[in-house]
Amino acid sequence: MTDELNYNPSELMVVNAARLLQDGDVVFVGVGIPNLACNLAMRTHAPNLQMIYEAGVIGAQPSRLPLSIGDPTLVSGALSVCSMYDIFTLYLQRGNVDVGFLGGAQIDQYGNINATVIGDYPNPKVRLPGSGGSMEIAAWANRCYIITPHQKRRFPARVDFQTSIGFLSGGDARKKTGVRGAGPEVIVTNLGLMQPNQDGELVLTALHPGVSFEQVQENTGWDLKQSETCTVTEPPKQEELRILREELDPGRIYI
């Protein structure tokens, strides 16, 4: 069996993210990898998962791979379309969203995310896109997942700018802010999975097949702890890869 070599890092991340989703989850999602993860989950173990796009689309059934969060294929045949104010209030702020997917240029030791600037805010070295919806998704979705390649510059000890929060400085700092959601639950990378410990610090809880702890540490900007129960993820199954490659992204745009 050489199954475990028969996939690329993007496929590996999509498959592992999909497995985190539960049947019936309402997921606030963007295009690309998170969108593929949701669609893969719907075609395997979570047929009743529902996707919400910040543009105001609920229960999309796209007949082609959407290339932007405003793709018209997300609208035709959707269950419901509403305004952006409604999406952020009636759905997200009200507590109707189970899962949010987040991303950014930097994620730190406590799961805080920077999508705003590298350097000084008033005179930025690199001006990044900014929050979009992530400030609120990170705070109000019941649980959050982050999918990102594992690189040292992406995982500094402290982000330059807190665009959206994880566990702030750790401990009960997040809870004290009064945000409704539980915060980042799993960070899925191409090397493994990180999860917050009791203190809100991200620790390694799973390695992908063939990856060593040292490899992960090399690509992480803080002294990474390994969970006592750290496991090895199950490699992508042929059926998962088939769905991804043949049904979801045959043009290999995201994978």
């Binding site: 105001g56 932007s68 609120e136 807190q162």
Partner: protein, 300 residues
Amino acid sequence: MTKQMSMKDAIRKYVHDGDTLYASGFTHLIPFAASHEIIRQGIKDLVLARATPDLIYDQMVAAGCARKVVFSYMGNPGVGSLRRVRAAIEAGTLEWEEYSHFSMISRLQAGASGLPFMPMKATGASDLADQNPNYQKVTDPYTGEAVVVVPPLKPDVAVVHVQRADAEGNAHVWGILGEQRLAAFAATRVILTAEEIVDQSVIRSDPNRTLIPGMIVDAVCHVPYCAHPSYTQGYHDRDNQFYLEWDQISKTEESVGEYLREWVYDVPDRAAYWEKLGPEVHQRLTAGARLSEPVNYGDY
């Protein structure tokens, strides 16, 4: 009373140097034809407000129309960076004011509702609020807890593209609604562009679909394909290929200058622009039919 006029006249009459402009449409119905006309008329010092500046403001910033951008996500959606806005900010030649999507939209909700502010639940994130004094706090009188609030955004002028409207500006809109309706109600002046101008009886056949009422509209312009390279649900597709091309074009001031000359300055109006795109693009962006099931309002 009809408010129909040409796009040229509408921009001349209702968009002035120094205005705060909200060209509305979240990924959908973005009124590119209006921004091109603004560029052609050489309007200056605009404050460009949009949740996502998108290519429409990248082009206006490159053309020298803007003094400031107000935004919540500055990217080329689905592609990457918004190069001209980003370069101008990094070079210190463009002012900016930044929000999260929800606070940006809440500002419009406050403006559209005539409210002095809108409250938002705590997000725990304070770095942006520390940089933008428009984020304030009030004390919730019921719990004593701090609540974040943002002030109203009331643009001087909003441009709103819709699928169909009558000549008085009563408009049917469907597909992604974004912040469009709020922008129209929040603004002092409203320029409505429509894919089709229809008889008022069509509008009256489905009053629940009328999201923009004529009473808040100042000018109605018949501008098919107004939204290209974004799209109009049911009329034409998004030109994803152009969004990718812009990533190349926008790399240098020179190539942007060439683009603006060829596709904006040397083109008189949207009809000529669409014609110039040519049959391959027309063909590629065609949308097939997928009709809504009608509903019965009843004859009472």
